[in-house]
Amino acid sequence: MRRAALRATVLGYLAAILLAPLALVARRAFEGGAGRAWSAVSDPDTVHAFELTLGITAIAVPLNTLFGVVCALAIVRGRFPGKGLLNAFVDLPLALSPVVVGLSLFLLFGRGGWLYGLFEAHGVRVLFAPPSMVLATVFVSLPFVAREVVPALRELGEEQEQAARTLGASSRQTFRRITLPAIRWALVYGVVLTTARCLGEYGAVAVVSGRIEGRTETATLRVQDRYESLDLTGAYGISLALAAIAVCVLVAMTLLRPRREA
């Protein structure tokens, strides 16, 4: 009896906070008919916003994948002073407001910043242009691969790697034949999380991009832009497209989770 009551409460809470709002967005997006929803999403500025988001993600995800794997190896296998500090800095983007990240980049590259003379003063646009948006996105999505790979590496242990090395394998061979196969599902899981975070980034990019319509507006910025312009069909339509991507991410996570834990 008590168990049924708890189950009902929990499922009711989840339905009220997660499922019902999501379902309603789908309805709102198509309120004016599928044609209006489609013309809102296929607007050139919206298409450009999606292209920009995908482009930034395509740069940030490989960078953070490489960093995440090397960083996890250093955390688990390395012995060096300052490891605790490294751990703390890798986790920091998870706990930090993205607006703070954006402001930091703004102060670094903006007029009077340490790197202003190196780039902006010579006409190399960093702020209000894609380079700073990529940097902001790399910052906020930094921890995911490393955090997934670290436990997988701990689980694997060092014995197999040492055995391979004893048998004369080079570090590269050891990594490719022993380490990589053992961590690959954790790695893929981390890449999925990183991708989702990159696609959904808002706060940091909002600060550094300048939000120039058709130029530095990403998909999430476009949602807010449409919402504030009272174009609700557009806002809900783009939201629905982003939500569809989120559902794909959820499916990928669900399929990967048992393999990651195996």
């Binding site: 960083c71 390395g78 600060v207 949602v223």
Partner: protein, 271 residues
């Protein structure tokens, strides 16, 4: 020959490859994370820090942010534990789907989350609940974006938990609440605490969902992140940096707390 000579102490001796890897990690982290944050701290130290942080707008926003984040974290402590319990100990059709749904807030862009919540609990609410531009709305949005943290830290611990002590207590006549408080809770508490801490940090820094839901009314529904954002837009860099440094300090404090809880938990396990 060189490789063979280093065999016995391969792990202890820093290899050329290891040094290279460490250099890469250090350089990447330094360029992407440390340098921008150093620029932020430097800018905030330019004088006027105290005035910018103690201005009535900053104080109101920081108070609101901390209170709303604390409220969301507390609700999560209870709701997250209950959800994890149902997902591990209960069995019902569709459980796998519910389990997958938990991660939705991680996968969904937060701006979309804000819009989604406003669709159901906003001005045109079909259920007659309108929390748009209110503090209740802020807490609701924070509850949405922080939902997975406690669930995902408690779930694995609960899954691994040995059931025998509970059965023993039950056969000795202990009531269910007693069993939960005396046997289950001590085991899952480190998980609950680190989940709550991460949820709190995430809630303090949230902006995407809040710019849509809260309406950003100064002194009423304007959170700290939004104050930082608005000051940047207004060209007040020192004022923005001051509040941002406070947020940075809160993040560091939470991470230190999570680290301490983890160390305490592993020491407890080993003992």
């Amino acid at each position: 020959m060189a490789a063979r000579a280093s065999l016995p102490g391969t792990a202890a001796r820093p290899s050329a490859g290891g040094a290279l890897a460490l250099g890469f990690v250090g350089a990447f982290l330094g360029a992407v994370v440390c340098l921008p944050l150093a620029a932020l701290v430097r800018s905030s130290a330019g004088g006027g820090f105290l005035a910018a942080v103690s201005s009535s707008e900053s104080v109101a926003a920081l108070e609101l942010t901390l209170a709303a984040a604390a409220a969301a974290a507390l609700v999560n402590a209870v709701a997250g534990t209950a959800i994890a319990w149902v997902l591990v100990r209960d069995a019902f059709p569709g459980k796998a789907a519910v389990n997958a749904l938990i991660d939705l807030p991680f996968a969904l862009p937060t701006v979309v989350a804000g819009l989604v919540l406003l669709a159901l609990y906003g001005p045109r609410s079909p259920v007659g609940v309108d929390v748009a531009f209110t503090r209740a709305g802020i807490v609701l949005a924070l509850l949405f974006v922080t939902l997975p943290f406690v669930v995902r830290t408690v779930q694995p611990v609960l899954h691994e938990l040995d059931r025998e002590p509970e059965d023993a207590a039950r056969s000795l006549g202990a009531s269910e609440p007693t069993i939960f408080c005396r046997i289950v809770l001590p085991a899952i508490l480190p998980g609950v605490l680190s989940g709550v801490a991460l949820a709190f940090a995430r809630a303090v820094g949230e902006i995407g969902a809040l710019v849509i839901v809260s309406g950003n009314l100064p002194y009423r529904t304007e959170v700290a992140s939004v104050v930082v954002f608005n000051r940047i837009q207004a060209g007040d860099r020192a004022g923005a940096a001051a509040v941002a440094v406070v947020l940075l300090a809160i993040s560091f404090a939470v991470l230190l707390a999570v680290g301490a809880v983890r160390r305490l938990a592993t020491r407890h396990e080993r003992a």
